[in-house]
Symmetry: C2
């Protein structure tokens, strides 16, 4: 936990926060912090700041908060991901928040089992905690917006263009002969990109066509067949590296 993340509703009019959950335990038992000590804090979807420990009362910690004026930049990358099996998705949540994603769409595809969408891993009560964990690791305050879409066609036909109107659109699939650099446009006048990653068996030809028609540039990742979480982390890192380089 490299940042104590605070929800706006937890902050009172005098900029004080009382923590009594895992964050307090972390401050008391891991950081072994005492009154007067200043901690790095962040307001959810807002600015970073500093929390001075006013007092420790049993298992609760009272912080006096000061925040910077402006929040850090919103992550520039969005993700459309064919929902992997629940075990893999569970591992991935915190890592997505760590890497910094603006919006995550979890999408059905033909090679995605429908029952994955009944799993608790796509419920906010489950994944928000993991996203918070990732944000606190990476010192980020921007909670990714999560959309769960169990129907491919209506999402692509009715929502996709509106959600990613000005984005550079990239489509990863084993069917792609080229590499990321063959489709990524470093000089393009947009500061956002969306990456679509299919199921381990790949998108179907129909799905690829639907996405390509809407401006997605297809590329591959070489011969190795990676588990979805490995591929996702690798591709997001490669893309972030290029967005930074512009």
């Amino acid at each position: 936990m490299n940042l104590i993340l605070i929800h706006p509703s937890e902050i009172d009019a005098a900029n004080r926060v009382v923590l009594a959950d895992g964050r307090a335990r972390h401050i008391i038992h891991v950081l072994k912090a005492t009154p007067g000590k200043k901690l790095r804090i962040g307001r959810l979807n807002g600015p970073l700041g500093e929390g001075r420990i006013e007092r420790v009362e049993g298992s609760a910690v009272v912080l006096e908060c000061t925040f910077e004026t402006a929040p850090p930049e919103r992550p520039q990358i969005d993700l459309v991901l064919a929902l992997p099996r629940p075990k893999v998705m569970k591992r991935l949540w915190a890592q997505l928040a760590e890497l910094g994603i603006g919006r995550i769409v979890l999408l059905r595809a033909e090679k995605v089992e429908r029952c994955y969408f009944d799993s608790h891993v796509v419920e906010p009560g489950f994944f928000n905690e993991l996203l918070f964990e990732g944000l606190q690791q990476a010192r980020c305050t921007h909670l990714p917006e999560v959309l769960v879409r169990p129907l491919f066609k209506p999402f692509v036909e009715d929502e996709l263009d509106g959600l990613f109107a000005s984005h550079q659109k990239l489509l990863a699939d084993p069917a792609g002969a080229g590499r990321l650099d063959d489709v990524f446009q470093p000089g393009r006048k947009t500061d956002r990109a969306v990456l679509a990653i299919g199921p381990e068996g790949g998108w179907t030809t129909y799905e690829l066509d639907m996405l390509r028609t809407r401006g997605f540039g297809l590329f591959g990742m070489g011969e190795r067949i990676l588990r979805t979480d490995t591929a996702t982390i690798g591709l997001l890192s490669m893309l972030a590296d290029r967005m930074h380089a512009r």
Copy 2:
């Protein structure tokens, strides 16, 4: 499991293999394969090939194997990793094999707890199974060579130069001001690279100096503080992307 990986000692003089473990269960219950069906196989540290199911006897499968003449290219990237905490290292093993690493050195650093080296996660009996899992996922036959080194100084002074004599040497640390492209030399006449990744708290100045003196080029990964496994997968993907691009 996208490949059935077979140890050379399992293959008899007539190129037959009898499988009776998880591989057989996978063939019978997941692939639902029957006699005559051909499966993608690989000989550990050797070539890829094809296994024709000769018969299924209870829970055992008999394969008749043919192998290609030459093994696939050995992965071009080696890794020196400050051993992360056991829980994180456990998650990482299969993913390292998936991504394709020639040699993995797990190293002590000042900010690595010594007790991590007493964990079962650094015992071959534990990690080989996870490495196999990653190889079978990625359709790779090259088992990474693993060296566990609980002492930083003697490893760096006595072994490092010999192990990575002709390698391009790269050093990831939050202290690095530049990015990978500032130190990576795309035109260099070597086909191997070694990437050194420190603990989450970073290498110490002494450790950085020791590695830089031996030719490692220092770079950073931006402002986000990533968990070791996320950083490792991201950096290895970025590097593989560049090695391929040459």
